[in-house]
Structure formats: structure tokens, C-alpha cells
Symmetry: C2
Subunit: 377 residues, 2 copies
């Protein structure tokens, strides 16, 4: 099937670029002597995770129990569910573990640790649990030097759960844009989580695993001593945010949205396309960056970048494409005739992928496979 046969809008994966992205991250992790546990929330696609596994990844990270269930059903059995579990989700995690899934859950509070311990005791089941540590103040987790860390681990350990270790996510890396700053944050992420692990061990508690990760810190880390595994997700596709952060170029972005030109407003220099925010998502991650791509960067049907053009606005099923410099282009209707195809590189691959139920895997302008993705919780 050729691109021209694909109903639009459609999510395309450039196979060569994805392969290179997977190889690059895996090689860096191998060089630093740590396991890579990819976060599959970006693609939510079995075939993509299989490519990561084939390249050397060890286990997967998920953001929802639905992902855990879907990937386990496809044969992935070493799974870290990386959002703090709550009482109303414990039975669903338990059901997965009883079916043979090596599912690890995380907590960052005494309340959740108690609920997990109590449920484990009632069911005579020992959950595998990691404690989330906050190494950059951006979201969840206990501070590495907080007494709570020992309290939570003690509650779990005495309650019969298996304390597998500590994990952190330096999500503030998305706000940086130099390798030097990212390398410093990677070292902060590493040193603080290692400090948390040391505190647990000093208190006589087990802590075999020390898990860190975000795509920018993973790619810019120079030393991961005493870390056992790295989690990263978006590197598999990359996106314009990652390009602005400085860890890829737009030419390495493997995900794009195929769209058809449906109209023009010639006086304004507008091309109207059939990919609106329902296809691109409402993510405007580059809005606060040096280069604001609005709703996406425009490429031709052949994937070559049309640097002067971006998608400047999006309604539900309409995107407005025009010159980045705001100049009206008098030849716009001839340059991009009704029915012609464009590709749009996304701000945020996780958000754009989520708008589609399948990807078209492409090799040049040929679609070589349809890969399902799932959504929901």
C-alpha cells in the first residue's frame, strides 16, 4: 500500500527512524552498564515494545493497569506500573500477579503502603513494591532525606510486602535545553536516588533496585553508577519537544500525521487540512520553547521537511497550515493543491499517538504494516 491509499488523517511510524532511535538509547544504556526498561505509554503498541525488547530492553514500564494487562497478554511479564497505586486498584494488580505477571507497583505514602500491606495480608500475597522518590520537585515522591522514606519501606516490609527498591523520574528535564544542564540533572537524579537507596539499606531494609529515568536525562547521563535500570519512553519516536530540549533533531522524529489538503484561504496564505486537534492532540508543548511549532512542523508527502511551514491553528477536524513567518503565500493553492498530502511532525508523540487506534508503519512512501495501539484505562 502506498501513502496515497491511506485514509487521512493517519499516524505514520517511519520504521528506519524508529529503529535508529531504539538502537541509540539501548547502546547508551549498555555502555553505561544499566538495564533499559522502556516506558511503553508512548506507543501503547505491542510491536513497538517487541522491537525494543529485541534490541536488548529488559522488562517494560507502564502508566496504567490497562497497559499492564494488554502487554502481559502479549507475553511481557516483567512490568513496572509507574504511578502510585491506590486502594481501589489493588485487586486488579493482584489479579494480574496471580496470573503470573511479575508486576511491581509503586507508593509514596504511608496510607498507600498500609493499604497494600493490609490487602496482601488478607490475601496471603506478597506484593512487589518500589518507593517513588522525588529528585527534582516536579511531581510525586518522597524526598530522599525525608523520614517518610524509611517509614513507608518499614510499613511495607513489616507488612509482608517485598521492598524491591526505589525509583524516580526527573520530569523537569523537559524544561531544559542544553546537554550540560541535562547532564547535571541526570547526575542529580542519580545521586539523590542512590542516596535514598543507601538510607534504606542503612536502616536494614532491602533495596535491590535503583531505577531512574526520563528520555532527556537518560540520553545525557554520563555516569549511572549504582543505578540498576533506566526508564524512558518518548525516545522511541522523539518529537518536537525533544528536538527543542536538544536530544534529537526533527529529522529523527519517527511519528508523523498524514493529512490531506481540504481547502485554502489564499488571501491569508492558509492551507486547510483534515488533521485538526483530534489528530494532533491539543498538546502545545513547544509553546514555551525557543522554537514554537504551534500544532506541528510540516513535511511533504515524502517526509522532507518544509521548514517554512507550521500548523498554526487547529479545530477539531481542521488544521490551518501557513508560513511560519506569517507572510501570505500567493501561490499557496498551487503549492499545496486540494487533495495533496502532507505529513505533520507532532509536539508530543505520547499525546498525538493517543489520538489514533493504529499506526501505519512506513518505509519511504510505502505502508508496510498496520500496528494496533490501545487506549483507555
Amino acid at each position: 500500500m502506498m501513502l496515497t491509499d491511506i485514509p487521512t488523517p493517519a499516524a505514520l511510524i517511519d520504521e528506519t527512524r524508529m529503529k535508529d532511535n531504539i538502537a541509540r538509547m539501548q547502546a547508551h544504556m549498555t555502555a553505561l552498564g544499566v538495564r533499559l526498561r522502556p516506558h511503553v505509554k508512548t506507543a501503547k503498541c505491542i510491536e513497538v515494545a517487541r522491537r525494543q525488547q529485541a534490541e536488548g530492553a529488559s522488562g517494560i514500564t507502564v502508566s496504567t493497569l490497562k497497559e499492564a494487562e494488554q502487554f502481559f497478554a502479549a507475553g511481557f511479564d516483567d512490568i513496572l506500573y509507574a504511578a502510585c497505586i491506590t486502594p481501589n486498584k489493588i485487586d486488579r494488580a493482584l489479579a494480574l500477579r496471580r496470573r503470573g505477571c511479575r508486576l511491581t507497583v509503586i507508593v509514596d505514602s504511608i496510607a498507600a503502603a498500609e493499604a497494600l500491606a493490609a490487602r496482601g495480608q488478607a490475601e496471603q500475597h506478597a506484593f512487589d513494591v518500589m518507593i517513588e522518590v522525588d529528585t527534582d520537585g516536579h511531581r510525586s515522591g518522597v524526598k530522599p532525606d525525608d523520614a517518610l522514606l524509611i517509614g513507608i519501606a518499614g510499613t511495607l516490609h513489616q507488612g509482608g510486602a517485598v521492598v524491591k527498591g526505589v525509583m524516580t523520574h526527573a520530569g523537569s528535564s523537559y524544561d531544559l535545553n542544553t546537554h550540560e544542564a541535562l547532564a547535571r540533572l541526570a547526575e542529580q537524579e542519580r545521586s539523590l536516588i542512590v542516596e535514598a537507596a543507601a538510607r534504606l539499606r542503612s536502616a536494614g531494609l532491602p533495596c535491590p533496585e535503583v531505577s531512574v529515568g526520563s528520555t532527556p536525562t537518560a540520553l545525557c547521563a554520563r555516569d549511572l553508577s549504582d543505578v540498576t535500570e533506566v526508564r524512558a519512553g518518548v525516545y522511541v519516536f522523539f518529537d518536537l519537544v525533544m528536538s527543542n530540549v536538544g536530544v534529537c533533531t526533527p529529522h529523527e522524529i519517527a511519528l508523523s500525521v498524514l493529512t490531506t489538503v481540504i481547502g485554502h484561504q489564499t488571501e491569508k496564505g492558509w492551507v486547510i487540512v483534515d488533521a485538526g486537534w483530534m489528530a494532533m492532540s491539543r498538546d502545545r508543548g513547544t509553546a514555551r520553547h525557543g522554537i514554537d511549532y504551534s500544532y506541528g512542523a510540516i513535511c511533504g508527502q515524502d517526509g522532507r521537511s518544509l521548514d517554512d511551514y507550521i500548523m498554526t491553528a487547529a479545530n477539531q477536524e481542521h488544521g490551518i497550515v501557513c508560513r511560519r513567518d506569517g507572510q501570505a503565500d500567493p501561490d499557496i493553492a498551487q503549492r499545496f493543491p486540494i487533495g495533496s498530502l502532507l505529513r505533520v511532525l507532532p509536539n508530543h508523540a505520547c499525546a498525538t499517538g493517543a489520538q489514533f487506534s493504529a499506526y501505519q508503519l512506513i518505509d519511504g512512501e510505502r505502508a508496510v504494516a498496520t500496528w494496533e495501539r490501545f487506549d483507555g484505562w
Copy 2:
């Protein structure tokens, strides 16, 4: 089933509020003497459209051919596909029409009109077509006084297609916030589309239908003389954008996201919940308004507004809830304990609904039905 039994995050429809919203719009349209053709892109849910039909709606509007196919399969046969059709979508529209669907398509260019006429002639099929007119400069359509209008209609008419009329969408209404300004825009929308219809008729071309619509202009219109039908979508649920525009209050918003508290950062006054942008969408429609709700307005499990709290940030599966005034709340962990439920009112109901594959219809704190919704193209 009670709310506490529903896995989170979940999309809730408050049945009473939705019923009132449907009744209010239908009553206003009936009073103005026009038909209402609801835009089903907001809910993408058969049961919701059936409620609108039962209240008096006449036909539906869709944003994709997938919606047309799904609604036709459910018994809706009078459908306007309100995005300009392109050559690569004509055969799919034709297949629907041959199965008995009264599908009307739209165009705003000679190129699309020619493609439609040519395909119709080749297939000996007369498509029903409306011409999109631009009455407020916000997106697609030909200007009412542009020679192109007659050119397009002539191309269709001479090519054997049925020119059903003209349609417009005053989407710039979302940027206004007073009834007076919206009433003026509604009159602009009405008078310009009526002018376009008159020009077609003067040129000896047919123009039986004159279709306008957006939720704000529909609700604020005082006179719709010479208009035959109104299209509106988001009124069925309403949202925080519509509240800021001034056509509803937050207490009329029928769609909310049920979420569980998964953690706290007490020092910062943060509650972490399991609804992130994957549940809320990345829509930040209120960012440019007087009242910026960030990712949503917080209500208790019972639906009562907690006016002081909003969702200030969202990662994929994590939302951060805190006081709107930025003050840290020292009692936050006691006020919103781990495992407790909140409801979040969305910025944009069309975008938030799209993140879910089903709605839970609720009556108070009781879930009375699960209604499927569909997505994709």
C-alpha cells in the same frame, strides 16, 4: 453501581444536567422557528444523539465519515458531513449514500466541486452538496460576496450534483464573552449567509437550505429569519470555555472526569490525582480567558464545586490539584485523603470526551448506565 465502584479515571455524564441542556437549546430553536441539527462530534455517542432527537432535533451534523457510518448504522439517516470533502473521501461518502444514507457533503472550492461532479457523473450519482461560506474569517468557506460562490454552485449544478444550500459556522464566537457581542455575531452569521443564499438564487441556482451554527451564537441569536437550520454541538454537555464565554454556568456542565487521589506534596499544597492529560486532554481553552481553570475545575465526589481548587498541571496519568490562589493548604492530605474521589469539570467537552471510550451516565452518585462512544476516522 455507585461512583465508588467505577474504575478511575472515568468520564461521567450528569443525566439531569444533560437533559436540561438539550431542552434549553431545543426550546430556543423552536421559539426562533428553525430546525436544530445537533453536531454529534462532541459526544460521539448514539444514546446522547437519541436524547437530542427525542427532544425534537432534526438530523445530525458530523465531523468525520466514521461518525456518519456509525450513526447511520444506528438508524440516523439525515446527516450533514461538515468538513470539506476531498477526492480521496468521495467513494466512502458514495458508499454510504448507496446504502440509503441521506448524506450531504460540503465544498468551498472549484477543485472539490469538480471532483465531486466528475465522480457523480462517472457513477451516475447525484450528490447532495452544500457550499461552505465564511461569515467571520475564522476558518474555511468562501466569502458571501465572492464570485467563487456562484462558480462553485454552477460547477456542481451543471455537473449534476444537487445544490442543497449554504452553510456557515461562526467559530469566532468562542472568543467573545458577552451576550450582546454574541447576539451581534449571530446576526452577522445570519445576515451574511442569507446574503449568500440570495446571491445563489439571483443567479438562478437552487438554495433551499440555509444552515448556521455554533453553540454561543445559537443560544444568543434573537432572530433567525430566512435560516432553515442551526447546528450546535457542545451545548449538550457545556464546559468551562462555554462558561467563560457566558452561555452557561459551571453548574450546568454535564461532563466531568472522576478521579482518585493517589498522593500529596503537602508542603506545596498539592494533591496528585490519577487523571492527567490522558483523561482531561491537553485542551487549555480557558488559558486566554478571564478565568483560567488550567486543566479543570474541581468538584467533590457529590458533584458540588470546590471553588478554591483547580487542576494546575497535568502529566500523562498524573494531575496536580491545588488552590487556585496558589496558597499551600496545610490540611490538604486530610481534606483529600489517598483513595478519595474528586470530579473535574473540563475546559473543552469535545476534547475531554474524546479521551474515553465510554461514559458513565450518573444520577447523583449512582451510575445508571454505561454509554459507549467511538473515535477515529
